[in-house]
Amino acid sequence: MKRVLAHVGLTAGALIMLYPLLWMISASLRKNTDIFEHPGLIPEHPTLGNYALGWTSTGTSFGVYMLNSLIICAAVVIGNLLTCSLTAYAFARMTFVGRKTLFGLMLATLMLPAHVTLIAQYSIFRKLDWIDTFWPMIVPSFLATDAFFVFLMVQFIRSIPVELDDAARIDGCGYWGIYRRIILPLLSPALVTTAIFSFIWTWNNFFSQLIYLSTRTKLTVPVALRGFLDATGSSEWGALFAMSVVTLVPVVAVFVIFQRRILAGMAHTGLK
């Protein structure tokens, strides 16, 4: 009996949590005049018209924004995988002068509010003539600036037996060989976690894209979506929700495909 009650409670809770999302999908399928009629989920005259309208109504095809976001996300994923794993390998497996100090420094950046570097970074990128380009979003990821992923990988590498390194060394591998042939393959669960979170966080990242991008054809999905209201006026709620749904689809798709990895990755971060 108690179990049944628990299930009922948990299901009701989940429904309340997800109701706004379901309602948004439903609203995106309704005519504007029907959206505010009732709070129910089933559209009376379902239509895909909002999607067609929204796709083009900012003057630039939404496909352009999606492509821009994808380019930035792909670059960030590659950058993080490459440089965070190099950094993590050095911290986890190599001995060098200043190791403790530098590791402490890396951990400290985990807690550093981004705003402390924001103003100066902006003026540096401006001097480099990088404003209104993708570089301010991409370049930091190639310099291992996301300490979270470095930390994640350090923890993971520490759980790989050192004997494997020793064996590889006897077989003639140097540090690079060990990194390439032993660590990287065994690190793949952490690499997948890094790739997924890099993608989702970059896709959703609004702030950098807002301050660095201004030409309409260079805008990314979040910035374009936020400009949508200005472009169409608030009368186009249906189209707005249709495009909102479109921007959430890649994140939801990644979640559905990698659900176990994402939840396990989240859990892992809290435990060590």
């Binding site: 409670g9 060098f96 890396m106 981004a114 291992a144 609004f206 807002l210 909102s244 989240m266």
Partner: protein, 298 residues
């Protein structure tokens, strides 16, 4: 020493990207922004030294003080609520119910999407005067209001948005709960401890490192919240500055008024606030965070 330095060369080669990053994108910009914070700098001019002027001006700036107030209310209310929900649902889910994976996934979805612009726009509709919430309240005969357009309630809609995302800390709690051996709880039960006693005396102390971790992370994150307030208020922090988050005011000063020096000073005060809170957490944490390897406390 020379030999040790020479031995360090391969490691530094591996660390090269990170070293360039930490110097060029973290430490360098930190020092630069510290310098800016003592200057009048509008991006196009050369920074002009002003001493402590920006910092003293902050505390005579009523909008700045308002942004502090809004942010403290936001952090102070949303983080405890979010943690409480996360812990409660995690404990419920941890009782060996069937379908755990499905529930866990469903409750996590809002955390995944919650920071996006799409959800902020959705929130704008839900809490608008013609919005979903008032429709639902209408079913019960309650006449709602413009939750987002009234200064008294606007901030609370943003707090609801954050609490809605309790799934992320919940997943971490669940993993922590799984680490607690059944034998310990069974032993407590044999000793006659009831459900509540077992929770307060056994589960919670054993879970306290995870609670601590979540708390530190959520507080740091909440202080930096930006997107929902920016999108919902159209970048203004309104109505009547009731949603003027700290970071939103910083953005307005830096990229609206081009008062880069002023914004840099704000950023340093924010760093100080976050550091104090994190430090406080660590100090207070010593009293209540229990690590298994310390041996059993009374």
């Amino acid at each position: 020493m020379i030999a040790r330095l020479r031995q360090s060369i391969p490691a530094y080669l591996f660390l090269l990207p990170w070293l360039i990053g930490i110097i060029g994108l973290t430490i360098g910009p930190m020092l630069l922004s510290l310098y800016y914070s003592f200057t009048d700098y509008a991006l196009l001019n050369t920074p002009e030294w002003q001493g402590l002027h920006n910092y003293t001006a902050l505390f005579h700036d009523s909008r700045y003080l308002q942004s502090l107030k809004v942010t403290f209310i936001y952090v102070g209310v949303s983080v405890p609520l979010e943690m409480a929900f996360a812990l409660a649902v995690a404990v419920l889910l941890n009782r060996g119910l069937k379908g755990l994976a499905v529930y866990r996934a469903l409750y996590y979805v809002p955390s995944l999407l919650g920071g996006s612009v799409a959800i902020a726009l959705l929130w704008q509709q839900i809490f608008g005067s013609d919005g979903l919430l008032n429709d639902v309240l209408g079913l019960f005969g309650i006449h709602g209001r413009g939750w987002i357009s009234e200064p008294g309630t606007a901030l609370w809609t943003l707090i609801v948005l954050r609490v809605w995302q309790f799934g992320a800390p919940m997943v971490i709690f669940l993993a922590g709960l799984r680490q607690i051996p059944d034998e310990v709880l069974e032993a407590a039960e044999v000793d006659g401890a009831g459900r509540w006693q077992r929770f307060w005396r056994v589960t919670l102390p054993l879970l306290s490192p995870v609670v601590f971790f979540n708390l530190v992370l959520q507080i740091i994150g909440a202080f930096q919240a930006f997107t929902p307030a920016f999108v919902i208020s159209g970048g203004k922090g309104g109505p009547s500055d009731s949603t003027l988050f700290y970071t939103l005011y910083l953005y307005q000063q830096a990229f609206g008024n081009f008062k880069m020096g002023y914004a840099a000073a704000m950023a340093w005060v924010l760093l100080l606030i976050v550091a104090v809170f994190t430090g406080l957490n660590f100090v207070l944490g010593r009293a209540w965070v229990f690590y298994g390897d310390e041996g059993v406390r009374r």
